[in-house]
Symmetry: C2
Subunit: 664 residues, 2 copies
Amino acid sequence: MEALDYHAEERRKAEFDVKEMKIVWAGSRRAYEISDRVARLVASDPVFQKENRTMLSRKELFTDTLKKVAHAWKRIIELRLSEEEGNKLMVFMDQPSFADLQWGMFIPAIKANGSEEQKAKWLPLAYKVKILGCYAQTELGHGSNVRGLETTATFDPHTDEFLLHSPTLTSSKWWPGGMGKVSTHAVVYARLITDGQDHGVHAFIVQLRSLDDLSPLPGITVGDIGMKFGSGAYNSMDNGVMRFDHVRIPRDQMLMGISQVTRDGKYMQSDVPRQLMYGPMVYVRQKIVADASTALSRAVCIATRYSAVRRQFGSQNGGPETQVIDYKTQQNRLFPLLASAYAFRFVGQWLMWLYNDVTQKLQANDFSTLPEVHACTAGLKCITTSATADGIEECRKLCGGHGYLSSSGLPELFAVYVPACTYEGDNVVLLLQVGRFLMKTVSQLGSGKKPVGTVAYMGRAEHLLQCRCEVERAEDWLKPHVLVEAFEARATRMAVSCAKNINKFPKQDDGFAELSADLTEAAVAHCQLIVVSKFIEKLQQDIPGKGVKRQLEILCNVYALSLIHKHLGDFVASGCITPEQGALANEQLRLLYSQVRPNAVALVDAFNYTDHYLGSILGRYDGNVYPKLYEAAWKDPLNETVVPDGYDEYIRPILKQHIRVARL
Amino acid sequence: MEALDYHAEERRKAEFDVKEMKIVWAGSRRAYEISDRVARLVASDPVFQKENRTMLSRKELFTDTLKKVAHAWKRIIELRLSEEEGNKLMVFMDQPSFADLQWGMFIPAIKANGSEEQKAKWLPLAYKVKILGCYAQTELGHGSNVRGLETTATFDPHTDEFLLHSPTLTSSKWWPGGMGKVSTHAVVYARLITDGQDHGVHAFIVQLRSLDDLSPLPGITVGDIGMKFGSGAYNSMDNGVMRFDHVRIPRDQMLMGISQVTRDGKYMQSDVPRQLMYGPMVYVRQKIVADASTALSRAVCIATRYSAVRRQFGSQNGGPETQVIDYKTQQNRLFPLLASAYAFRFVGQWLMWLYNDVTQKLQANDFSTLPEVHACTAGLKCITTSATADGIEECRKLCGGHGYLSSSGLPELFAVYVPACTYEGDNVVLLLQVGRFLMKTVSQLGSGKKPVGTVAYMGRAEHLLQCRCEVERAEDWLKPHVLVEAFEARATRMAVSCAKNINKFPKQDDGFAELSADLTEAAVAHCQLIVVSKFIEKLQQDIPGKGVKRQLEILCNVYALSLIHKHLGDFVASGCITPEQGALANEQLRLLYSQVRPNAVALVDAFNYTDHYLGSILGRYDGNVYPKLYEAAWKDPLNETVVPDGYDEYIRPILKQHIRVARL
């Protein structure tokens, strides 16, 4: 018996080898095989089902999460999964939980800040899950400005202990995931005070709860901060609030890898270069960029498949209506997002390379590229997360009314994704850092200090400031060097123009403050150039598989040209391209859409998502949307009874006119 | 005792009469007084409290909604509220419910489509709430394309009845609010079939449920379609699914105001002009635009107040940190939204005038302005709802991490608002209609047929196609005629350019299809011009109150100039302004932000929202944010117990290593 597949015709139309594209998407054949196997494993396990997640009350959802985590850990052991496989399993479980913090923040924080002795003591406890840890940095009053944290850790030389204390309401720890109800331990960030002197923010390991019964230890007030955006979504996480009332911890629970406090209360810095801490930061941001491509591709997969199922208008002679994916307005919104998902994927893969490169350089005490690497990773974090958050919502709108249903999966995807624009550095705050780095780069041009890495192009500023785009016909826009130069010229001109305007201010700081919005725009231009460049570089590699490279070339061009259209003001106002060239870019873009169209469904199949992971009736692999939407409706709790609760009390008296409710 | 007010200093700084601004915002002194009184009434009533709304399960939320509606109706009678006051009470109750459909759709549909006899029979039943009605148009398979609806109403001459039937799965009625669990009656849209002939979609009154016990009548399968975006939000509404299995209704329940079926099954059209149906449509869209300004202003109010409370970075010599509202990046995102809220308010007020104007013209059988009115109202619906949906989310991000908390009110505001981009005409579908209207207008230029109303400016196309913007210094951008001409030139040039490109196609329809994305952009340009023009016209009126007009002038300029910056590509590429003039617009915009800054809190106070209606701790009138956030956290159900449910089963065995969960 042949399986039902409403997309069969779409899949037949594809002009490339989908299996090979899956491997490109995954990064390697091995990565593909692991993902594929683990995703199916999770999808077939009844404990990991999540259809009813958005209908659960907060408490039910939380218990469900505890159950899933315990089951996941159990399966990882039973199946002897590798660390990579285990991580994948947690990813495909697709439910944020306290466990994310154990591996994602608690262990890395100890690795980054602990002494060798401390690592030897604490890491095994964490790895063996004899303790459950979280990362307690953010406070009610301070997020972006870490230096403004107020929690204190005061050394008491009499007892050789630190006293953790929350001196103000705003010093309450607020947001740390896992802290609200579960964590037994935390890496707590607090101001180190010895002998009345404030040494700034340092990290401490603090036990929060009893290992016997999980009750909070004396002096510690801790709880959950309450509901967050959406149903389901991040409400499975116990983001917490915590206050310390003079809580004592032994001196050796200050993480002393970088700074130390001696027995007699002397504060010392080790000779380990502080820059080493950048390594993990690059790793985290690389992960965020990779996650952006995952989240965006899920939304795009749902919207693309449903756009091929959905028909509306255009019926001729009683034939079927037009698939909405055939409308240019739909393609114009959807295909740039499809292209962005691929673009972010590849820039994420490149960031993985960058991380390894930086790690090697750091180990060789070469810190020369750090400012550039910092600016690049911070900036990529911003533009990919912002575009992904907006893109998910756009995909939801592209599904019309049904995108508003929880069963479309898109509302929850949006709600669970959007904090990425704020955590690990608020996007606007980070873009300003990128902007300042660009200003510094511009100011050093001609000084003999050559810009490196992703700003190397600025070494050609003289050319880029006066070059003219050579496009004469629409197809000229398909030349990679034309695209790159247009983006380089735009980024250079915006940065240089910003720098000039800042210099007009008597005080440079005032210039930075006044023109900060312009700075963020220059930063965006720079970061978009990076994504375009890395996509093009990817295409210079050998990519096997029939038609695979061709599809990626099309998507790369869609990505670049749609950005030119979107930011036409930047390109034209700075004279990088003429209005006519802008119009040709738009014309070429439309032609590209026609080339994407027959491959669209196959291009989202290449993400290789199971129906379980997608969690969307609209995005079902088989396209069997309407019967399943209909079926799912009846599972809503409201449909448990035919007549709704409250009828006797609130509706019947009105209809029976026992209560007069109108004046007629 | 003086009331706590962390915003006192901000309020002292205001340079205008806030009370007078409240009146301008409300539309009249009378409207202000009614709003103010009813809002306080609702805010002080314990039944209308909503703090815990996002924590309720679907069933609890639904029962809570029934209770609130019953209470609202009771209070309206007890207090002898006028219809206007009653409507306001429902607005400030701020919870979507089946009741919205009774007055918003069921009654208007009968008014618009019923014969005099039918109105006399059904309207009193509805007004007296002896029946509860909804509006059953959309189906699982058809939303935008109303002509594609599949439900049939076949006339049976033997019994003088219609048989309502759902011939396919996709013909299931899907989405109608109130239908899921409550409505006793519906206006059902179905294909009228007499004697084997399909006369297209018509409206029928169908009883769905027993008036005795609310059980569905025979042949009717009906239920709720399940959870929608967010927690709380639209989940208080029972959007429904319904199928008919040959359900019989008497012939006189076809709404026969416009078409009739006679006793012997003859189909007849009355001589009532069909155009009369446009009146209610203008009314509904005017309401949507007004609602957009309300939703956006709520979000802006929250973000503005919290931006004045929140401090981050910039502490000097141990002093307080900088209020985030003082950062240009914050102003650059927030103030254009503040300006948009006011702009949408005034264009909404103008639409109310337009509705009256159109109504008079229709009554005089003057249908000449209908195409223009249709295009204008459809287009304004699109740009205001899209900007509002995006704006609410932007306001949420402007609140940093805390905006992600349900207690900020912003997630629910977003979730409850976004369907406005889809209902009453999907925004992109509507924009295409506007685009087509513009193409028709362009094609008639020079034909002697003068464009009227909001496209009158196209009568000056010749001038607008070649005029040059006169701006030489930043302050030149403050001249109203300069702004209007720039927007007129842009809209004209985009429309004319589209028309030219479409004409290059051998078949015009292909041109429309291929260039549909360009058409929507031309439509947006036209609609933004309308908003700018109406704001400027408003300022030509007498506006009393110290400094009130001055503030509105500033906001009008912020609105217009921020659009020029955002759509710089349109303006520069079409040669309406030079890049240098674009830069001057940006410079002027920054200066305007400094003028808005001291008035920002007072400008959102002028919306006159109670803390109840705002429903946001971040947006509290008194600015007492942090203690209240802290207090609210403890009310989450997860905090009912110290140790979470599931500890014994899922956490303890791991920590006690009864289950090995790690490989070390």
